[in-house]
Amino acid sequence: MASSSERSPPPFPDTEDQDVLDSEEVGGRDSDEDDGEELFMSASNTPLTKQDTPTSPDSQASDLMEDLSVGPPSSQTEKSAASSSPEEFVDLTNNLESRVAAESSSPEPSDEFFDILGSETQKVEVEASVKADSGEASSGGPDLPGEKTGSSSAAPIINLDNDVQPPRIGGKVIDPLAQILGDTPAADPKKPSSAVVDLFEDDGSDIFTGAPQSKASSRPEKGLFGEPDEDLFGGPLGAMSKKTTENEGKSGTAKAAGPTFSKPTEPADIFTEEAAATTVPRTSNTVNSKANGVHSEEDLFTEATVELSLDSPRSSRKNEETSKPSASSSSSSLSAPARQAKPPPAALEELEDEEEAELEDKFDVLVSVKDPEKVGDGMNAYMAYKVSTETTLPMFRNKLFTVRRRFSDFLGLYEKLSEKHGPNGLIVPPPPEKSILGMTKVKVGKEDSSSADFVERRRGALERYLQRVVNHPLLLQDPDVREFLEKDELPRAVSTQTLSGAGFLKMINKATDAVSKMTIKMNESDAWFEEKLQEVESADQHFRKLHALVESLVVHRKELSLNTANFAKSAAMLGSAEDNTALSRALSQLAEVEDKIEQLHQDQAAYDTFSFAELIADYIRLLGAVRGSFDHRIKAWQRWQDAQAMLQKKRETEAKLLWANKPDKLQQAKDEIVEWEARVTQFERDFERVSATVRKEVLRFEKQRTKNFKRQITKYLELLLQSQQQLIKYWEAFLPEAKAIA
């Protein structure tokens, strides 16, 4: 469930409230297209709430118990989901076949399904991949009735992408389906496993408010299934279709799958367009047109798509997550499913796209920090930098603009961003640290090389920091970032001062955070996170060590350059003292060569510093930010757990009251339970959302790190190469001089 939970936009409280409300008014809600988990969450909850009123307390209690019992499985599911997702990832990137296979493994859907019921998602996956080839044409599901096929084909996908549903389904095949179809949960509990078709039809009409009626009539079950499926799994489908077009051999499967799922799919379109705008233009177009004919929402979606394509995949993701930007606002609640439905595989897809985009080094926003300048005198002096932005994005007023910012402004920006986005699990790129020592040197006004070095280092770090911020699709959309880049005057960032009251408060906060971090013992349910955290921590250690080493390398290199200069001087002296003219000449030549080599060493030291040490320092900072996002996830988890404990308590009270037969207080207790259930749901969703974001962010981070590292290392090696070439030149020029000594 964690994986598919991208749905909720930043103003979470609102949407969640809305969701809660929605779940109560069953029939005609449009916004019920919350994504899978949400759906099932609300689905499983709604029955309760619904039943609350009509049924007697007894039965309700039993329901509650049921609900509770459902709880633990969910965590299991999560785990399996988590563990399965890396595999998915592998699938995506490495062997598309298995993915397609999994999809097309519908011939034996019932088996899978039962496996799923046994909540062995992984096993299913394995099975699915084993059945790779057998399932090719079976999307039609010869033996099975339409619904069956639909459900079965949906199921594997769920396994792969959303992972959440199947186990959650518990024992009822229909339940999940119904949930998937659009949480008209009222029907579910009443009709356990009969009249599936009816159910779906009903659901379908409910969900789509009659829009796809004609479709539904033509192929009732499939259409119905198709739509919800697309909503939920549009992303993966898009991804798949891309993959399949790449792999000619598999395209058949994709098409087979296509009609079942993605025919009327706009969400899928969005993704296909994003993911494979060029690769599958034909299919997506046709689908689009079809969709246009059928759906009323499609306009909105196409709008969204346009926006998205303008903003490039990254910003589109941003759009999906924050409801602020125009695209999502225009698409309103209808686009919600699209956003929500996008499971991590899609995100991975995007990552790949991103990479492709970035391989061309096409940044939509290019930020440079230039001209550090000391403003003021004495201890009140500060450094101001010129921040120039070059952009092609329409969201900025100009193509090129420049503002002056001081260092604390950069810090202030980070404070704002991390406050806003940190809790959501985003990795907010950290700025360089305040350095009292370095800055004091600058302030005192010593014009020595170390302070110049310091300023240059900081300038570079600030530039990279800003570039990272604007490269992040979500952060770029943040109004504060825009303000920072565009606005002429910024209110002074006070809270960044170390010695101010705010700084003090921050320190206290940090201390309490550290304490709570130690006290919170999270029994990590998700192996992926556990692994990643360990990885990040060991990487952090290694990078720190590496950094120390590179720093010492720089120190030694500088020493060498100094010593070489000294030697050059004394060689020149020796040359002047030498009475043999040729030897004297050679010695002074040697002095010259050494002088040049000294320059080389100096340059090399600068390269070491700027392209190697700073790179590592950056990553140490970033790794800290990654850990921060992990911490936020744990905090979210803690909130959820607390709420659950509270709910449990409330229920106990209720049971006690029931036992004591105090009907007057009973109602209040029930209300409280409802309230806390909602809260648990919300927090759980929060947690999942944060988890998903963190996961995505970490993947993004890794990807970028890899790329960045490669680029930097290549650059570094090239610089080394250059200096070696210079060295050769110098010595070769010296050689005849040495030979001329007679």
């Binding site: 990885e535 590179v550 030697f567 890899t706 040495a738």
Partner: protein
């Protein structure tokens, strides 16, 4: 410390014999006379003592056998040098500088430190550092053998010194020479002598020089000595920082290695990091190369150092001559005084004559020696500088190919 294990066995040794002969031809007067050939084919390190095997091949009749090997210690070399210096007859010669005491302290100390720090390091890092230290130790060892060899070769190529009785005993006597080490008193005496000498140098500096050649030589050598001393110190420093960098690279590559091992659990980064690691291993190789380059700087440093000592020896010669001159002038004065008093005139005359004679011989052979020295120095500098430049070019070219390979590999994938 089990450094004995590292001692050069024939295989590594063969290579530095060649180097030795290369150096010999440079720093020593070219002497194609094959009547007396000396080399040190092997050496053994036992605790603080280094035992050199001195191998001699000769056609001279003064030796009992045409070919023989004897074991000698560093102290024996010092003894030989001291006896040569103290021989009155050789006052007019530049006595080849004694080889410096073998110094294995620094690699030993490092080895010790490494052993202590073993726990804090990763395994690869440790092994790499150890290898590095072993290589360094070997280099120091080679260098030590070489300077001893050069000392003997210079003696053997000198027309007068090669006939020295002590030298021949040193080469021929197949038992342990068991030279007594200087005791504390003698050490102090030597120190005192040095003090007196330098005070004396100052005193006789006022004596007017009678020969322009020596006047020039003196100023030149004094100047040159101070310059070359400085240059040597600077070159040493340079070499040391070069070595530091090489050490840094080793640690760096070890860390990168463990980093990439760590990251290999990560799907994304596996390939890349392996690549990275590979590259850095290569770059590290290059740095080992860099170490070799710094070894080659030893060529420069070593040359400078040797000539610093040689110039010291030349200066000693000049001092002895100046001393003789001062003695002569003093005897002149004494003669004048005696004539004035009419007492012991013949004795004073005798003394004055002796002094003059001594001074003249000194001047004559000194002139020859100094001219020789100059030519030798120029040839040695030429040879070493050329070699150094060639090596630098070679190393830089190697590095370049390595780097190019790395970059291609990186950009290729």
């Amino acid at each position: 410390m089990c450094l004995q294990a590292l001692l050069p066995r024939p295989a590594p040794h063969a290579s530095f014999i060649q180097e030795g002969s290369a150096l010999r031809s440079v720093s020593v007067d070219l002497n194609n006379d094959a009547s007396l050939l000396i080399d040190i084919p092997d050496a053994l390190c036992e605790r603080d003592k280094v035992k050199f095997t001195v191998h001699t091949k000769t056609t001279l009749s003064s030796f009992q056998k045409p070919e023989f090997s004897v074991p000698r210690q560093h102290e024996d070399f010092i003894w030989l040098h001291d006896t040569l210096v103290e021989t009155e007859d050789y006052a007019g010669l530049i006595i080849p500088p004694a080889p410096p005491k073998p110094d294995f302290e620094s690699p030993r100390e490092k080895m010790h430190k490494l052993g202590e720090g073993e726990a804090t390091m990763t395994k690869e890092e440790y092994t790499k550092m150890k290898q590095e230290l072993e290589a360094e130790y070997l280099a120091v060892f080679k260098k030590t053998v070489q300077v001893h060899e050069v000392f003997l070769q210079r003696l053997s190529s000198h027309p007068v010194l090669s006939k020295d009785r002590n030298f021949q005993i040193f080469l021929e006597y197949d038992q342990d020479l068991s030279v007594r080490r200087k005791n504390a008193k003698e050490m102090f005496g030597g120190f005192f002598k040095n003090m007196v000498k330098s005070a004396d140098e100052v005193l006789i500096a006022g004596v007017k020089e009678v020969d322009d050649f020596f006047e020039q030589e003196k100023t030149f050598l004094l100047d040159y000595f101070s310059k070359i001393k400085e240059a040597t110190a600077k070159a040493e420093k340079m070499t040391r920082s070069h070595k530091n960098i090489a050490d840094d690279y080793i640690r760096l590559s070890a860390t990168l290695n463990s980093l990439s091992a760590e990251e290999s659990t990560n799907y994304y980064i596996i390939k890349f990091c392996l690549k990275l690691f590979q590259n850095f291993l290569r770059v590290c190789l290059k740095k080992v190369e860099g170490r070799v380059a710094s070894d080659e700087e030893l060529k420069l440093t070593e040359l400078l150092r040797y000539y610093m000592r040689d110039i010291q020896a030349a200066k000693d010669l000049l001092y002895r001559r100046a001393r003789a001159l001062a003695d002569y002038e003093n005897s002149n004065k004494a003669l004048d005084k005696a004539r004035l008093k009419g007492k012991d005139v013949s004795q004073a005359e005798e003394h004055q004559k002796r002094c003059l004679q001594k001074f003249d011989t000194l001047s004559e052979s000194g002139k020859k020696e100094l001219t020789n020295f100059k030519a030798r120095r120029v040839v040695a500098f030429r040879k070493n500088l050329v070699e150094m430049a060639e090596l630098e070019v070679k190393h830089a070219k190697n590095n370049m190919t390595l780097l190019q390979g790395c970059i291609e590999l990186l950009s290729g994938n």
